[in-house]
Amino acid sequence: MKILVCISHVPDTTSKINFVESNSQFDTNGVQYVINPNDEFGLTRAIWFQEKQGATVTVVNVGGPETEPTLRKALAIGANQAIRVNATPTDGFFVAKQLAHVIQTGEYDLVIAGKESLDYNGGMVPGMLAGILGYNFLNSCTELTIEATAVTAVREIDGGKETVTTSLPLIIGGQKGLVEEKDLRIPNMRGIMTARTKPLTVVEAVDTPTTTKAISFDKPAPKSAVKLIAADNLDELINLLHNEAKVL
């Protein structure tokens, strides 16, 4: 089985979010970048398939050279090879078009992408990939088992979960549950050393029209201070929720 794991290079969850150039660009100054957490669950599941069922795992990212440490980390975790599409990711459709080209070229059986990235939170790429390629697609996937080409999976639904069957080739939008957080892989020294020798191929982007563009950013207005209510004055809390906030 050939697996492709799509990796977003995103600011660490505790990063300060600021903007520069008249609020048109994200301020990367001092920001630590990590593998997008939803992608990390998918990567670990892919490595599980590699170890237990004999798959090869390729990781791919659309981005500039600055994203290579993130791809190297994925190699250190256990991926066999990496591809970087050399382009600045402008919007979800652009990224999906680039990845679709990589998928068609590499003929992957299973494509795992995180259901959304923690920077722009678009939640677009896995679905757009499926739309472009016409592959079977499962979003919000929390469990995945594969026997030959038969797939059983679970996806989250509002208020519960749904078990489905399908077949390869398949694209999933994955999340926590594909593996548990405690089972996420941390690169060990051997992995880090080996990662240096694994192939990281750089490919050029394909031409794609844009469908959206980011104009500017702003941050929520500063919050007014919390109104503290004495623990023995719960009538006041109910009064405020009813009359001031109007949520009761």
Partner: protein, 322 residues
Amino acid sequence: MSILIYAESAEGKLKKVAFELASYAKKIAETLGTTVTALTINASDTSELAKYGVDKVLQVNQDKLSSFNAKAYTDVIQQAAEKENAPVVVLSSTTDSLYLSPLVAVALEAGYASNVVGLPVSTAPFQVKRNAFSNKAFQITEITTAVKVIGLAKNSYGVFENPASTTQEDFNPTIDATDFGIKVVSVEKVSGKVSIADADIVVSAGRGLKGPENWGMIEELATVLGAATACSKPVSDLGWRPHGEHVGQTGKPVATNLYIAIGISGAIQHIAGINSSKIKVVINTDPEAPFFKVADYGIVGDAFEVVPQLIEKLKAFKAQHA
């Protein structure tokens, strides 16, 4: 030409988000000088949409669409959008609509903006404001294609009555047999409880509760309020509560009218997951808990003393306002 909304239903009944979409689309339609069409799939009663400004309801009733199927539903939405010559298609942020929207965007060759939090800031060029960076910032996005797909964040606009005289029309789209590559084997829903996705109020608790045996009062508080229950990440990691209740950056996002956090200190990842909620109430013994910095109302106190009293007070309040 008409703005198209996909009015979601569950077990034949329209979801509340459908009325928020209708209210929202009506406002855009007024700006663009057009009408609103709502598409429903296997909804038994669609009459309520008239209250919120929908001019036409396209009703699809097909047995093969009884289970959600992203590809087939995309076909239906695409054909409805083409039939109505819709310049704007609006979907919500339920799990199903988040699944559909990118597929719909590709099918319609449309630019798609997700997590949209308000009316377009401009319609020519077409620019919308959306949440980004896990609700720590907003992005103004311009959609440059002729057809636009908008994913409206839940509870970001509200529900407004705007009665219209609505026409109903049966719609019979053609559905490709190859759409059914994914087959539903079973569905498990938590019955008798309000789900986080449907809730207007969420009562959430953390490690301050000391153990799963103490969740009875949290559930009772939720019952009194008609709320869903949720929890912080450590609580689901410890197995005290199911993962489906974990709220935060890698858990479920919550955008409710009222979020009550009990015994949760407020890690940055948790706050990111609830920041879109309108009113936040925090109950914590530690006055330095970071959650107080983002809360609207706070009580420094012991949950084991405060919550039982709050339940009694709310019961009395509900009885008085029934």
